[in-house]
């Protein structure tokens, strides 16, 4: 009925698909920074797509299972082991009672999402089980996991799945299970304040590689260089920002906002990373380089629709695998 957190690792938190409906009160989205990865992992273990799982940042997590569970994970290039057996991303495995699951530090990428059959049983707060780390509520007492925490799991029906103690031979599509790329190109649509930047800043934005800074976190990916200066320095009236927004503070160093970002901001918004590429954005860590490439808004919507259709086919395929 529960798992014991033997080692919490660098930063592990309970997350689902995030919190909606309370932005007018300043409540952030939170949630898995790659919600698609969590959905795929959940489908693999026959959970609801939006069930609460764990978001693991930079590894170091060790769990001990107090009963049998089916697990799957998606994310960066982590070495994950069930007992001594490696569990590759996007595959399914049964963890036996008393067995341990370990995440090493990732070779490439930053985060992974672990789904456990039955899902993690924490209370719904404002409609979500996600941890809001900044405001300190939701998930496990509003905080990251600590060594020694006990997490309760909900019941699950073993017969729902065909998994055995072997690692499954089938898996989720590779691009979904491991969205990590070295030095990725993130596609964007123009932001509201695009035209506040002069031609040379826009040229740099679309042609140069941006270095990810060490003070990046779940609120946003910060970039050290190059700097994007704008001509005017008028104060803008604060308005909504969203995960994916790239804002440029007076320092000229852009920030790509992620799930824990504030609901409003007053810095100019040069661009927005499209939803399908937030999977790659969630894998960025200090020292990585990123380039940005423009797409049209209809293309962003088309790409999202196509991915959803593929997920639907995958979901049907999974239901055919079952007993």
């Amino acid at each position: 009925m529960q798992i014991t957190v033997r080692r919490a690792g660098f930063l592990t938190s309970v997350q689902d698909l995030g919190r909606t409906g309370f932005r007018e009160f300043g409540v952030s989205t939170s949630g898995a920074l790659d919600s698609f990865a969590l959905r795929v992992a959940n489908l693999l273990v026959s959970n609801d797509e939006g069930a609460a799982g764990l978001e693991i940042t930079l590894g170091g997590l060790q769990l001990r299972f107090d009963d049998e569970r089916i697990v799957a994970w998606c994310g960066g290039e982590f070495d994950v082991r069930v007992g001594a057996t490696p569990l590759p991303a996007g595959h399914v495995c049964l963890v036996s009672t008393g067995e341990q699951l370990k995440f090493s530090a990732p070779k490439v990428g930053c985060r992974a999402w672990l789904a456990i059959s039955g899902a993690i049983d924490v209370p719904l707060v404002l409609g979500s089980r996600s941890t809001d780390l900044r405001a300190g509520f939701g998930g496990c007492d509003g905080r990251a996991l600590r060594d020694g925490d006990q997490l309760y799991l909900r019941e699950f029906r073993r017969s729902q799945t065909a998994a055995t103690e072997e690692i499954s031979s089938w898996s989720a599509p590779y691009d979904w299970a491991s969205p990590t790329k070295r030095d990725p190109v993130l596609r964007f649509v123009r932001g509201i304040d695009w035209e506040r930047f002069d031609a040379s800043a826009l040229q740099r934005f679309t042609s140069e590689a941006f270095a990810v800074s060490p003070d990046s976190d779940r609120m946003g990916v910060r970039f050290d260089s190059p700097e994007l200066k704008r001509e005017d320095n008028v104060d803008l009236t604060s308005e909504a920002v969203a995960p994916g927004t790239i804002q440029v503070p007076p320092s000229g160093k852009p920030i790509l906002l992620l799930g824990d970002c504030q609901t409003i901001g007053g810095y100019p918004k040069i661009a927005h990373v499209i939803t399908v590429d937030l999977s790659m954005a969630a894998q960025l860590r200090a020292g990585d380089y990123v380039r940005f490439s423009e797409v049209s808004l209809p293309d962003a919507h088309r790409l999202l629709l196509e991915r959803e259709r593929e997920l639907e086919r995958f979901r049907i395929g999974l239901s055919l695998q079952g007993p």
Partner: protein, 240 residues
Amino acid sequence: MEIIPLGDSALIVRVREQFEDAPEETLDQVLRTLQQLRNAAIPGVVEVAPAYTTVAVFFDPLTVAKTGEMSSEVFNWLAARIRASAGQRARDRRSLAGRSLPQIVEIPICYDAEFAPDLDDVADRAELSTKEVVDLHSTAEYRVACIGFVPGFPFLAGLPQKLATPRRDTPRKEIPPGSVGIGGAQTGIYPLRSPGGWNLIGRTPLKLFDPTKNPPALLHAGDRVRFRTISKEEFEALKR
């Protein structure tokens, strides 16, 4: 009315260009638009949220596409629906988060030195005594222009001009919940322990944000706020 994409899953409806030149009128206009958008119940719209001169509309492009719209038309379809909703009269002002708007909310504040580490600075800058600062601050009437920064943080318009004080050069790493601050031409209240750069001049014992309640915040955008000066004893009593 301007409708501008905010990425592929949100857009901004800009109701007016400026806030400061007409805060009352702008807020009323923004709240009217917010209510019209809620009443319109446009398919695919997940939530709407106001901020100063704008209303943000978050949507699910997949739901919009299921209405039969081509992926190339998602934004245009939504924009057309939003424009059409603006023509509708606000039918039901009560439906806004389950209560009528705007409300008048009284907030007790203790301005004792213990809670007001920056009161002297604000007074020096305004060339007033600390008592005059407290009198001015506590007798003005404010309006919630926006909630943000952290959950439940109200940005209050209506600060007497004399009290406008720039943010501190070095923000504090940790500000106690309930702290009342001045940042530029606005005043506000920190609902949660958080970092912040505003000048702290008092503290309220009220809880401005409680995630176990719905709505979780004491204040809504558009609410009118009055402060009431309280003693340290009252502060402690109300805190309990």
